[in-house]
Symmetry: C2
Subunit: 161 residues, 2 copies
């Protein structure tokens, strides 16, 4: 598996991952009716941001996007998002994507990375981020409606470089 920059020919596989994640409504506060065109605009970052894929040969196992969290006086803090294909989870794909995003942010001079809305019931993600150096700075109670668990919190997570 290799992490590399997104190329337009990856889109069909990337969209399949996004569509699956968004329709499930379990881990991302995105519109579940998101269209492919809207997703492209949201997920495929223009410079200075960046979008990556975790590829195993021609197969896309996961994808990430990264960029500046807020403009102006907030522009020294990066953010990123990660999605892994359902049948590729538990194999370190998310960890590899996260480490690559952190490397990218450090190389580009960011002072830290912030995640704005990590669903607290998404244990795999929360634990992965903790292992990679992030801490929960706060949790907005009940800010995410999980289809099975009901209202769960959204963590803000942060790592200073």
């Amino acid at each position: 598996m290799r992490i590399r920059g997104f190329a337009p020919e990856d889109w069909a596989q990337v969209w399949a991952i996004i569509e699956d994640v968004v329709r499930a409504q379990e881990t991302f506060p995105y519109d579940p009716a998101l269209t492919a065109d809207e997703a492209y605009g949201t997920w495929v970052e223009m410079p200075p941001g960046r979008t990556t894929v975790a590829a195993d040969g021609g197969r896309v196992l996961g994808t990430a996007k990264m960029g500046t969290n807020r403009p102006g006086p907030g522009s020294h803090v990066a953010t990123a998002s990660f999605m892994v294909a359902a049948d590729a989870r538990g194999r370190g794909v998310g960890t590899a994507l996260c480490r690559d995003a952190l490397d990218w942010a450090r190389q580009h001079g960011y002072a830290g990375m912030q995640f704005n809305a990590v669903v607290e019931s998404n244990r795999a993600a929360v634990e992965l981020y903790r292992r990679e150096g992030f801490a929960v700075v706060g949790t907005v109670p009940g800010a995410f409606r999980h289809p099975v668990l009901g209202r769960v919190g959204l963590h803000v997570m942060y790592q200073e470089f």
Copy 2:
């Protein structure tokens, strides 16, 4: 002073307030080079969101925008932003705008209101929000570069209805 919906003829006065706030870089993580056109797109909310002004006769003293904080599984939480003209501060304009936004959010069935990035050195705002029922759920350390104070934190503040 009366809080009412924004009308296009308010724009010149609203833009003057936004421009002053954004250029100062002390309270909003917005691009300090924001243009009037970009500001219009950012500040003037389309339904289901809403933009208001605090008006004293023909004079606009302050402005607010409000809407849904996140789509899909996050869409039961509202958000809002407030700006008051420099020479109208300390007179309750922000409080009136905030109370109106809270009324609007309750009437529209939101479960709570979240502020995503309140500059911690902006004491007047933080205290106003506390008085109106918000609590700090977490602070991202150093996430805002203040022109005088250097890096200060950004509070996430929340109020459940």
